[in-house]
């Protein structure tokens, strides 16, 4: 109850001050270029990686990406770059 209140305050403050929400609310930021590339910033680790399916952990739960011939092009402490043919992005 208290956390939800805090989040609401954070949202209004970052709206007012135009602060990036992925930082103030600790959310993953997903940037996609068409369906061939996907950059996920602020993730919390990989749960599963196969060329057909990738599952990533994040602050709001698991992000499941399904596609064909997917690679992890770039992987660093808090961002991950997926390339390949991306079909489905789901938040579980």
């Amino acid at each position: 109850m208290k956390k939800r209140k805090l989040d609401e305050v954070k949202t209004t403050v970052s709206d007012m001050l135009e602060l990036p929400k992925e930082i103030t609310l600790n959310l993953p930021k997903i940037t996609m270029i068409g369906s061939i590339q996907m950059l996920v910033e602020n993730h919390k680790g990989i749960i599963e990686y196969t060329p057909q399916r990738i599952r990533l952990n994040s602050a709001i739960g698991v992000i499941r990406v399904q596609g064909i011939n997917m690679n992890l092009r770039n992987i660093a402490a808090d961002d991950i770059l997926v390339t390949g043919q991306i079909k489905i992005v789901e938040f579980l």
């Binding site: 680790g45 990989i46 990686y49 060329p51 690679n71 092009r73 770039n74 992987i75 402490a77």
Partner: protein, 396 residues
Amino acid sequence: MLFFKLWNYLLGYLVIRVEGLSLERFINLTVSKGIYMWDIDRHSYTALTACINISGFKNLKKIVRTSRCRVRILEKRGLPFILVRFKKRRMLVVGLSVFLIIIYGLSSFIWSIEIEGAVRISEEKLLQNLAKHGIRHGAYKRNLDTSSIANKVVIDMPELWWVSIQLKGTKALVRVVETQNPPPMIDRSIPCNIVAAKDGIIHEMLVLEGEPVVKVGDTVRKGQLLVSGVIEDQETYDVRYVHAMAEINARTWYEGTGTWGFDKPVTKRTGRKAVQKFLDLGKWVIEYHVDEIPFKKYEVSEKRVPFIDQRGLIPITMIVREYYEVEEIQSDTKLQRVKEKASDIAYQNARKIIPDHVKVVDKRVKYDIIEGKEVKATVYMEAIEDIAQKQKIIYN
């Protein structure tokens, strides 16, 4: 991204294959340790390949143990690994640096001197003078002050007005301007007449001084008086001597003859040719490019071209022989060709006797067949030239 690739190439990286059951765990552990990996590609459930930099690979040991994977190096890429290979072949590096030093060393000398603009003065003399001040074959060019050398050369050689020396690579380009002699002074106190230098019909006259004796259209013989330097007053009969000056343009004729026999072969080039090239090294002659000669009858022309060096510093010349295929002319067109041959020779002969500055305005050819054996061509060339010639007046 390009910068990133270049950076990785400079530092060197490895392509590794990781095998194990919990590969996601392996990836998460490396990421959390701050080890950077890229181009991760999963081949099967138990294997993946990835790129990792060298320092990252060294820190991988602990992760491998905790995630129970096996890591194998597939490839080593980047500059450090190439340098390691050089380390084993030290002489290659030595040779490479020696080569660079030699190239640099040789390029700091003057190897050829090119002279532009020397017409009347001998190049030998100019080269000697240049050598005296430091521009010579094999001179070290780094500390040459070309502009002061140019000044010294101009001072030393009064027959030069201007010298510029440019060093272009290993070539010294020397450009000179020669002094020009002023036109000879005409001593107008000496009285003279103008006479014809050769036979001709006067075309136009420009008399500057003196009394013209002939007019336009007159036929004059060699030595005939054209403009008189003796002027007599109409009324007082007073005689005055002047230095006659005039430009007398006259039509003159030149002729040349040439003969060509019917029995001599008359041939025509067919347009096909073969080329043979040889290198003449003085003692030896090396074939350089030799075509087979597939012709029955041919004409040969030989040229010698200096090889590589125009100044003849390297004693190698290239001999170029060109073989032109020819065919004999059939009898029906033979007369025509014999005439052409004869007139060609006649033209060449006429050209020899015409001075260079004379303008040819008309030409005519006459053919005579002598005893049915040969054709004699006579070429008459009409020219316009200045026939004025000064002649001193001798008087008491």
